[in-house]
């Protein structure tokens, strides 16, 4: 069974950046912080969270020149969590959390990750594909741009014929500082193999930073938490 999205927390684009914990999170859920700030500015940090990585090599932040920087940080939820404070940016930042359930209880909770940046300012978003080696991965297609606009509708519908249950989870741009924002779309890749490149159309032309994060399903027999905790 593919991992599932528990919920998305409240977006925060005002310093101090404290993105809200997703409602309904539980111990062993994977908590992801997705954030955007200026390219080349200090990368985001939050106590207890690590940048998405392959082995010990972080692939986040994804930097597109001086324009935008996509940060994806994660942790495996403990029994007690509070909304994290994100540090690092200065000009502006947009931060938001998502909770994923049903991933492995140890090690990296994803099957594979790829990253990309695009230096051409246009409206065409094209994520780097991955080749999953497990069935039933939950694919998170994440994008950041430096567009200076207050919007919750920058990203159009995502297209990928190998996915089911394509759902936009985040679409948040802010006009603070030089501006910027993030979007995250989830989809299920039921059969292991190549995803190909997902595509979508942005409202405003921009350069882009991308991450494709294939969340791995928990091995068979892994207990999936059912206790729903109240948000802090």
């Amino acid at each position: 069974m593919a991992p599932t999205v528990v919920a998305v927390g409240a977006v925060d684009s005002v310093t101090p950046w404290v993105p809200g914990l997703p409602i309904g999170w539980a111990e062993n859920d994977i908590l992801l912080i997705v954030g955007e700030n200026i390219g080349g500015e200090a990368q985001m940090a939050a106590t207890g969270y690590a940048h998405a990585a392959t082995d010990g090599s972080p692939v986040s932040p994804v930097v597109q020149g001086v324009n935008t920087q996509l940060n994806v940080l994660w942790k495996r939820a403990t029994a007690s969590e509070s909304a994290p404070t994100v540090t690092g940016p200065s000009n502006h930042a947009v931060t938001r959390m998502i909770a994923i359930r049903g991933c492995p209880l140890t090690g990296n909770p994803w099957n594979i990750v790829s990253v990309a940046s695009s230096a051409v300012s246009d409206v065409n978003a094209a994520w780097p594909g991955v080749t999953t080696t497990l069935a039933d991965c939950l694919i998170l297609e994440i994008i950041a741009t430096g567009t200076d606009v207050a919007s919750t509708a920058q990203l159009g519908a995502l297209t990928n014929g190998t996915y089911t249950s394509i759902t936009e989870q985040m679409d948040n741009w802010a006009a603070t500082g030089t501006g910027g924002g993030i979007a995250l779309v989830s989809g299920v890749k039921a059969i292991a193999g190549a995803t190909g490149s997902s595509t979508a159309t942005l409202v405003t032309a921009a350069t882009k930073a991308y991450m494709t994060l294939a969340m791995a399903p928990a091995p068979a027999g892994t207990a999936v938490p059912t206790l729903v905790m109240a948000p802090m």
């Binding site: 099957n111 990253v115 606009v149």
Partner: protein
Amino acid sequence: MGLSPDDLVQVATGSFTGTSGSVTLNATTAGNAVLILAGLGADGTNLFDLSASGFTEPISLGDSGFNGALYAFIKSGVSAGEASWTLTVTGGSQQVAWAAFELSGIDVDWPGKVYITNLYKSPTTPTAVASHTCDTGGATSETFSGLTLAGFFAENAAGTTPTINGYTNGFEEIANQTVTGTRAHRLAVAVKVQQQVEAPSCTASISPDSYASSFMLVFTGVDSLHVPDVYACFGAEIGTATNLTTSTLLESVIAPWDEVVGTPEIVTTNARSGVYCMKFSSTSAAENVAWARRTSPAGGTLGTDPTTDLPTVWVDRLHVYFDSLPGIDVDLASWEVGSLANGAVLWYRTATQKLGIKIGTGTEIASDAVIVAGQHIGVDVRYDPRTTTHVVDWAVDYNANPTDTTAGVFQTQATTAGMTAGGISKIRKGHTSAVTVTYYMDDLVGSKSRKTFPLGDLRIFPLQADPAGTPTVFGTAGNFRTFTNNGTLATWTAAATVANLTGVPPIVGAAAKGFTQITTATGDYVEVPMAPFTCAPDYVPVGGRWYWAGWAASGNPAQFGFAAYDGDSQFAFVNPADAEFDNSTLRWVTKMHRNNPAAYYPFPQSKLDALAFRGGFSNDANPDAGVLFALFELVVFKATAQTLFGSLASTTVDPFSRGIVGISVSAPTDYDTNLYYETDGTPITVPVTGGTTHDETLNALDAPTTNYVAAYPAAEPHPT
């Protein structure tokens, strides 16, 4: 950053027939700019003209011609709430179609490169056309992130309203307006976001055939990336301070410097990059060098014509080094508009141990921190004397040692009112005050481009004849000889040519050596490849300067020419006129490596790889004339290191174009990783074995050249 279609805040179109009419927009935002493109009709017989009060014309047309013309009017810094402006027709009632744009974020101090093409306004028989190309005549824009507007105006003498469509090269229509009558007109405007330095061009179809005119406007943004246009440099790599101002009539009398006061030296001690630097050391005396405009004979680094050649703005980067901080105030550098009193001065103040900028008799602005001895200090300056209030923007890199990566610190702007506006007539390094002081300067680079500020961390390296290269005679080899001992000729060989031209400083007199042309042959020359220099991943080539020292068998007038070659073009820098060479005087022939001083010259690694000079072309090889020294000072910018994908991959990028110079991928142990990128649309995949690091050189001219970069690490182990 830069401009985008969002900077077109609003667009409106309209028309009128008469001697005046209104152009209207919604209320404007203070500080924005308004652009009006207006097509003015004509009647085939008479001339008309159009004006807009309060606006400037990028190019004044003077009149419409007999068959209509397209006008452009720009007003920057509009007030809040402006909404209506008047267009006035002279010459009688006429048809006008207009499109008005409110623009945000444009650099009002660089309001756009404007070009007119195919403007039918002469009494000669015009031609009705089915298509029309709006372009810049081949001129390249100088911004990496601009907004280009192509305006088309068509007049149909038969009264059939023409259509304009089918825009090429990625332009998209944003405005369209017609006027009908005995003659019918259509105005159309198309826009394109420009992300690369290019010569924009757009062709539109017109039906039925009509008379056509157009305007191409390239706007840059206040924060747009801009080309680094290096106009002058000196790295002291010639290794000698002898005859620094001695040049020839060959080419505008350009020597390494145009003026020298005192006895500045060129030494190896405390050089910042390359081998040599300048040393200023005086006892109760002034000591300096300057680039200036020479009047007799006319020429010099700053040109011959003060009305057209003198820089209107000068951007400087200098590096100064003190063994110990002076115990006296020292004017380290200065920039003059006619006189030192009407200029700006960079001071070292002993009381505060700070640097300061002082314009005229205005208030001196001190640096925000003290400087220290024993390390290089970089100073970026932009001097703008275009109005009676002179302005200096500046930054100080307190540790500009080659190994230090700390950027400069922007300083408080200096301004002084009541000055005399004008072109910059002298650019000086060194002190004019009679003081006892010792200091060093190196890596001196200047630009006429206002948007080049700050030039930042740059280096100058010397290149001489490539010891592994093979000079080649184009023409008859027998027309050339190598020489040693100031005139002992030998059969020309490539090896001897390289050997004779290798070594710094130049040797003049009894031991002089080089090659010479002994027979008149204006088409013959020796091509000498210069030594290779690989910039990536640490540097980006930006330009350079040639230094040749001429030689002749005797002092009679001798003719010898120089040219440079970059693999694509030969720059006939120095025509084979009277070179004034002889066998006892160090006489410099100095030239920046660019074909047209007024136009941007991109200098990528590929052109550096092909760099060579050519000597010969003599139309009077009597006495024998040639060259005894050749050196190229290569100017490079330090590439900016930046994270690309966490610690998986990093890049170095061109600080001006943001083009990727190189990518380094460190694949995690046991995770083979594919680096993927697209250069000019061509996909390239580079496998990187887990646990290894791969450095990929891209040398992309700009950000879009290598657009899409991705990394694909292997999948995680299966969870159990």
